[in-house]
């Protein structure tokens, strides 16, 4: 991944009548990166990607590909290509014909087309005899790979994806997420992916842009977004989280509601200090919260009652109701599972290193 900009979005706006679907979005997409735009449904991400590939026209703003303005260029004249949510495989064509379609449009010879198609099928681990198979007879995962091969045959400058994995079952989706990431590394192309699934975004992306109500809320590397969200919306959108309203009391100390704080003046040192009287939201992810035995203490402590236990496979999730009635989520590895029962009075604690302060 270089830091050279391949696609520049400059204050893009899209309105449908009175409704503003995309509301002033600016972003530099870098050469060779895997960027994922994540947002809940209705956030405008699908509208945005349609603008980027040229299927809809911008209302305002401009779009620049390697310094050349392209927002007036129709989709069929742009060197970009999209993998659709429905995959849009041509049902009246074989696997080979589908993959060769962009080459046929470009007027390449039948032999060249066939060679390239077989090459791409090998890259995507599609058996060679599938060349003549009808696409309608292929399985979900195979169809996915065919759509990818076809998009790669087009050899786009940027490859866009509109939630292509959303229709697949869980296991297949997980496998294909990893394949897609590998494919990105092998081809070195710029991938722009949209999804509503945080997990999908986390597995694959170099950078994630969180979108809400037609605007980007935060754009950062995946780890950053997870550990250091810039708003409650992002914190809550990026998985389970515990949030507390806190207030600065000066000299590196904090005061919180429903949480005992023993930071001993170290708030500055760990970047969670607030000016006296200033409000903030303290965040801690469930995997950092531990059950404390009586007598043990921690930088942050909450007392409550264990209300529920859920097995999530390798991890166990607990719901704890604190003394002031709010709920906390705790996640432990199975081997560190809490030895007790639902209904027990418990003490929870976590360290200052695992917290993050959100100031809005």
């Amino acid at each position: 991944m270089s830091s050279e900009t391949i696609l520049r979005l400059d204050n893009i706006v899209k309105r449908f009548g009175d409704f503003t679907a995309v509301d002033g979005v600016s972003l530099d997409i870098y050469e060779g990166e895997f960027l994922t735009i994540v947002g809940p449904s209705g956030s405008g991400k699908s509208t945005l990607i349609r603008l980027l590939v040229g299927m809809d026209e911008l209302t305002e703003g401009s779009l620049w590909l390697r310094g050349e303005r392209i927002d007036q260029t129709p989709a069929n004249k742009r060197p970009t290509c999209m993998v659709f949510q429905s995959l849009a495989l041509f049902p009246h064509m074989s696997v080979g014909q589908n993959i060769e379609f962009p080459l046929k449009i470009r007027g390449e010879s039948a032999e060249d087309r066939r060679n390239r198609a077989l090459e791409l099928m090998a890259l995507l681990r599609l058996p060679e005899h599938y060349y003549t198979k009808g696409v309608t007879q292929c399985s979900g995962g195979e169809r996915q790979r065919i759509a990818l091969a076809r998009a790669l045959a087009f050899d786009p400058e940027i490859l866009f994806f509109d939630e292509p994995l959303s229709a697949l079952d869980f296991r297949l989706r997980k496998a294909l997420e990893k394949e897609l990431k590998d494919l990105h590394e092998r081809t070195g192309k710029t991938f722009v992916y949209i999804t509503h699934s945080l997990e999908e975004a986390m597995v694959m992306s170099d950078r994630i842009a969180i979108m809400n109500a037609g605007q980007f809320v935060q754009i950062a590397e995946s780890d950053d977004i997870y550990a250091r969200p810039n708003s409650r919306f992002v914190a809550e959108f990026m998985g389970e989280v515990n949030l507390f309203g806190v207030e600065g009391t000066g000299s590196g100390e904090l005061h919180g509601n429903g949480v005992e704080i023993h930071v001993n003046g170290r708030a500055d040192e760990f970047g969670i200090a607030l000016a006296p009287g200033k409000q903030g939201t303290l965040m801690v992810r469930p995997e950092f919260v531990k059950f404390l035995s009586s007598g043990e203490t921690s930088d942050f402590v909450v007392r409550g009652v264990l209300r529920a236990e859920y097995a999530l496979g390798s991890r166990i999730q607990y719901k704890v109701e604190s003394a002031d009635g709010s709920n906390l989520i705790v996640e432990n590895l199975r081997e560190d599972r809490y030895q007790g029962h639902v209904g027990d009075s418990v003490i929870l604690g976590w360290d200052i290193e695992s917290t993050h302060m959100i100031v809005e």
Binding site: N76, T132, F154
Partner: protein, 267 residues
Amino acid sequence: MKTPRILRVALYVYGVLVIVWLYIPLVSVTFASISKARYLTFPIKRYSTAWYAKAVESDTVRDIVSTSLKVAIIVTIISMIVGFFGALAFARYQWRYRRIFQKLILLPIFFPQTVLGLALLMWFNSVGIIPTWKTAVVAHLVWISPIATLIIAIRAYSFDHSLEEAARDMGASTWTVMREITLPLLMPGIVSAGLFAFLLSWGNFPLSLFTTGADSTLPEWLYAKMVSGYSPLVPTVGVISILSSFCIVLIAVVVMWGMRLTRKARS
């Protein structure tokens, strides 16, 4: 739940009876055409194919068949073309007057054909067009092209808009998208629309009666012969007409089958 055996047998018998009931008229016409006697009596005493020979030799029969065929073929071709574009307007594209168009196009189908025929005849007269088989083509089209449009529109509704977008995204121009994606995907609908158009035109009586003028189509001629001067030539030509319809359906099936095969062979 398993259907009891007795009920299944009863259903089969009932089904067979319905089919027999439907086909008895056709069978009796066939018998009438191969009887040597001038009028149909049962049991048939002597069989003969003499009337078939006469039908084939007759210049009148040849004339009316060629008129009917001309009308039906032209109606079929125009209906397929008009129906294809009409269906795109009906089902695929968003445009301002689409809802009105969708309703207006249905009107000719709901009109009683005799009234439609009469109205067209009066209109042809008032603008000074002398009715011939060509005006019949126009009349048939008024009624048949909406049907063809609907048949193709059903197909057009069921296809995914993103297929066209994807083709365009990969560099295809509007015409290439039409040729490579839209047309092949709608083809089964277009072929069935053509088939319907042909059969509806071939067998149409009420519209033809009003609008052919001095020319005569096969159903008109059959009616005229029934009213004045029945001979076994009437059922004979009737049977020939049914058989040709059947052949057309058969050809269409073979064409569709062939298309599927060549597509397989090409890939």
